[in-house]
């Protein structure tokens, strides 16, 4: 009846996951009861869960990323604590638990923090920057988000029911095959990534279509803001790479469920093929995360320097070059597998070539600051911190691209420090910069600057205190994923890294306090202009938060930095008071399709993991039925009448005028 599932799946004698899960359950229940008591459920259902508005979906993506960042961060704290203690001792976590922690940390941070964070920001911002009303496929957008949430849910369920993978975040066979990992851990891993991978793929298709097909009048490719370019590049990579991941994990699942021999030791399986396939996805994945972060910095640095982006065309070229080359370097992840010197050298050099366009980007941001008036608001702090940190990460990255150096550093803590150096330095700093930068656009008030800067300094310093010691430990031969160790010379570095983790934790706490303080002081931090940073692109041309239709009248773009040009024009001829010609606007109706689909996907995923076959059938049938109901819907759009559009827009314009006059009077 319940497949492999029975009471022994609940880790009753393992206090840590049980207490953690209990706490999470209590918090979730408390939030639900509070929301129910306040009567928020209808609002949450109608305005958020069933919403197909790209802004709302973007916000939900970012929220998911932040919640999962806490989960992944707690994993990190546990790992650093374990390694600070486990010298000549088993530490606090036995291997079967510790191995799950580092596997979950990697999986969560990449798939359920990095991905939803950047996809969320792209969702929120790109249609606004392009001057359009929504993404190309609004309901599909909702489906994509909820499938990602399904993956996150399954991973969190593994904390209490059964176990998570104990194989590392890429689940290399033959270790991840049934014979060496007979538990449900790898199944949790693979099914949650299969389901969320579909979500990511549809998000990618959606955003590529949006950039290619939906741009406002005059928004030619070479007038698009840099963030739109990096969105295009990143989502092209998603479309090309994620099917590889899906197929690779499907092969692993066939091995595990149906006795195939794709990657097994026996029966002619070839585990090296898994390594190639997973990295053929895995290396582009690095750039799927990094390119949007580069895009965010390309918005932040010009805005806070009061200048256009330096070398825009160079940046476009560099972005697309990274997009293409990132597909040709996957082998550098396993120089030590025994390939010949020609192969190793070619892939080593190809990997280094990526450093050229990336270096160009750094110099272009540098010269964007040159001759500017740099304002050190929180997003700009993250941007400068990023430039410094990312160069160091780039240096160590090019270093491990030299095969003989990699022969010493492969899989070491040096490598671990390197990729945290680029992922934290670029993706996380970029995500935080984008979060602070676009928060007023999404919610109509700014985040508290003081707490933001405190968070920046703790995170920035904490990062170095954590990861410089890991570089050092790697130079002392320490390899990754060790649950305990007996080598005296590693010990001080592990303790130092533990101290750094405390600093980074304080940084995260500052970020949480920043949000709480900002919500309490939202009236003081209110932005009525829609343009709190004196920025340059079209998302700032509409109100904060934008009306559901984004723009009352589709803007007409005359050049790069579209909104800057509009502002310049408005300053020149103040007579521009003619009321625009308002028309009726058609918007897509909200739809529970995404949520219902994800519900059935969760049921299907869970029952596949536990071999509850009748429930698998039920889940799949439910998902298919949802699709049929959606496909046969009668009304998919509703109309906002012209008077309503005019009313909303007049309020916005009046507020904006008032704010501008206020700003100009003292000067």
């Amino acid at each position: 009846m319940l497949g492999k599932l029975d009471w022994s799946a609940i880790p009753i004698h393992e206090p840590i996951p049980l207490v953690a899960a209990g706490a999470v359950l209590v918090i979730v229940l408390a939030v639900l009861i509070w929301a129910g008591a306040k009567g928020y459920f209808p609002y949450i259902w109608h305005e958020w869960i069933t919403s197909v508005d790209h802004k709302r979906i973007g916000v939900m993506y970012v929220l998911l990323a932040m919640v999962m960042l806490l989960r992944g961060g707690i994993d990190a704290i546990m790992m650093r604590t374990q390694l600070a203690i486990a010298y000549h001792s088993p530490g606090i976590f036995p291997p079967e638990h510790y191995d799950q922690i580092f596997s979950a940390h990697g999986t969560i941070m990449i798939f359920f923090v990095g991905m939803p964070f950047v996809i969320g920001l792209m969702n929120l911002v790109v249609p606004l920057q392009l001057g359009v009303r929504d993404v190309a496929f609004p309901t599909l957008n909702s489906v994509g988000f909820w499938l990602t949430a399904t993956g996150a849910l399954l991973i969190n369920i593994s904390l209490v029911i059964g176990e998570f993978a104990r194989t590392g975040w890429l689940a290399f066979p033959p270790l991840s095959e049934l014979s060496y990992s007979p538990g449900v851990g790898v199944d949790y891993y693979a099914w949650s990534l299969e389901i969320s991978g579909v979500g990511t793929l549809v998000a990618g298709i959606n955003l590529v279509t949006t950039v290619l097909k939906l741009r406002t009048r005059g928004m030619t490719y070479l007038r698009m803001p840099m963030f739109c370019w990096t969105t295009l590049a990143s989502n092209l990579l998603i479309i090309a790479a994620f099917p590889i991941l899906t197929a690779t994990l499907a092969m692993l699942l066939l091995d595990r469920y149906l006795g195939f021999h794709f990657f097994t030791n026996e029966g002619g399986g070839n585990s090296m093929m898994f390594m190639n396939l997973i990295w053929a996805w895995g290396h582009p994945e690095v750039y799927i995360l990094a390119l949007p972060a580069f895009g965010i910095f390309s918005e932040v640095v010009p805005t806070f320097s009061g200048k256009p982006l330096f070398g825009y065309r160079s940046m476009v070229l560099a972005t697309m070059a990274i997009c293409v080359i990132s597909f040709m370097v996957w082998l550098h992840h396993f120089f030590t597998m025994g390939a010949g010197p020609d192969v190793n050298a070619v892939f080593g050099i190809a990997s280094m070539i990526i450093a050229v366009p990336t270096g160009v980007k750094i110099y272009n941001w540098l010269f964007t600051m040159y001759g500017g008036r740099v304002r050190f608001e929180t997003p700009m702090m993250w941007a400068v911190g990023f430039m410094v940190t990312f160069i160091i990460g780039g240096l160590t990255g090019v270093l491990v691209a030299v095969p003989p150096a990699d022969f010493l550093l492969h899989n070491s803590l040096f490598l671990v420090a390197h990729f945290h150096n680029v992922i934290i330095g670029a993706v996380l700093f970029g995500a935080f910069a984008g979060y602070t930068y676009w928060f007023p656009k999404a919610f109509g008030f700014r985040l508290h600057d003081g707490w933001g800067k405190a968070s920046f300094w703790f995170t920035f310093v904490g990062f170095y205190v954590t990861f410089i010691p890991l570089y050092a430990a790697g130079m002392l031969g320490m390899t990754r994923r060790m649950q305990h160790y007996d080598v005296a010379e590693w010990r001080p570095w592990m303790i130092a890294a533990g101290v750094g983790t405390i600093l980074m934790t304080i940084g995260v706490i500052c970020q949480i306090l920043q949000l709480a303080v900002s919500i309490r002081q939202r009236e003081e931090l209110r932005d009525t202009t829609g343009d709190p940073w004196d920025a340059r692109s079209l998302e700032w041309a509409t109100a904060s938060p934008p009306p559901v239709f984004n723009f009352a009248v589709m803007p007409n773009v005359a050049g790069e930095d579209a909104y800057w040009l509009i502002k310049e024009k408005a300053k020149r001829d103040t007579l521009e008071t003619r009321e625009p010609d308002y028309r009726d606007i058609e918007m897509p109706r909200n739809s529970p399709t995404g949520f219902v689909c994800a519900f059935f996907a969760s049921v299907t995923g869970f029952s596949l993991i536990w071999h509850i076959w009748w429930l698998v059938g039920l889940g799949l049938a439910g998902a298919f039925a949802t699709f049929v109901v959606f496909a046969w819907r009668d009304h998919d759009e509703y109309v906002i009448p012209a008077q309503e559009v005019a009313r909303i827009d007049r309020v916005n314009i009046a507020e904006r005028r008032a704010a501008m006059n206020m700003a100009e009077t003292p000067a």
Partner: protein, 277 residues
């Protein structure tokens, strides 16, 4: 296990390339970091002496420099990578004094078996080699992937079941150094550390002779005990019955090692592994 304290020519050459590469990159990275901080500081809004050039967004000359600096660096480093990859190919022979020593390394869950086919002996978690002699190492795995790595001897390489990888090393100083597995292989992975005893060329034959007197014999039957999934606390030594034992493992005539046994269907995670430890 300090990478900056190499004990053999391969590790020394790896280290030289590592340091040269860092030096080449530092030559542009340090000025760039200084420029970032300097520009950000000088062009701060509150500095009245900084010239504001709100339209400075393109300069052909600067673009040229901007593309040229990383390109030139990478051309230089690419040369280092190409030459280094060829000179330090793990499969290429390393010259040395005395006759080469053939070693066959087998990673198991969770221990290292070292077979000396010419000397007809085998050791577990302990590798003894003569100083200065070329070490010709063939590697495979009896179960999942591992990486054979002696940091102070240099280059690491994967071990994979059903396949053979090749590694050539040489140890130049007598003493004991440590090796480890550098690829996660399961619960007992951190205990896959092993000692490398580098002894004088005169002492090595004595050690071989003593080891050959071992009462334990390693053959296709007795290897089954070694192939149980556990951590080996001691460092047993064996007399090798058949010098083709390694080929039997590679060709899977000796079947790959079994994984953990389940006590119940679901609770394997918490019970199975504890048995193994």
């Amino acid at each position: 296990m300090n990478l900056l304290d190499p004990q053999g020519p391969v590790a020394a050459a790896d280290k030289t390339i590592l340091i040269d590469s860092v030096a080449i990159m530092l030559a542009i990275v340090v000025p760039t970091i200084i420029a970032i901080l300097a520009f950000a500081y000088w062009f701060r809004q509150s500095n009245p002496r900084a010239q504001y050039r709100p339209d400075f967004a393109y300069s052909g000359r600067l673009e040229m420099v901007v593309w040229a600096i990383p390109t030139l660096t990478i051309i230089l480093l690419g040369g280092v990578a190409w030459i280094g990859s060829h000179q330090l190919d793990p499969a290429a022979q390393v010259p040395g004094t005395g006759s080469p020593v053939r070693i066959q390394a087998v990673s198991m869950d969770w221990k290292w078996l070292f077979i000396y086919p010419d000397q007809r002996i085998a050791t577990v978690n302990s590798l003894t080699v003569p100083v200065g002699a070329p070490l010709q190492i063939e590697l495979t795995s009896a179960s999942v992937w591992n990486v054979f790595f002696v940091p102070q001897l240099g280059s690491m390489i994967y071990t994979m079941n059903g396949m053979v990888t090749h590694l050539n090393l040489r140890a130049d100083n007598e003493g004991t150094i440590q090796g480890l597995s550098a690829h996660f292989s399961g619960d007992g992975f951190p205990d896959m550390m092993f000692d490398v005893h580098v002894v004088s060329p005169l002492e090595f034959p004595n050690w071989v002779a003593n080891t050959a007197k071992s009462s334990q014999v390693l053959n296709a039957d007795s290897i089954k005990k070694l192939m149980q999934q556990n951590i080996e606390p001691g460092k047993p030594t064996f007399r090798l019955e058949d010098p083709r034992l390694f080929e039997d493992i590679v060709s899977q005539r000796i079947a790959p090692q079994a994984g953990p046994k389940l006590t119940t269907n679901a609770a394997q995670s918490y019970l199975g592994a504890q048995d193994a430890r």
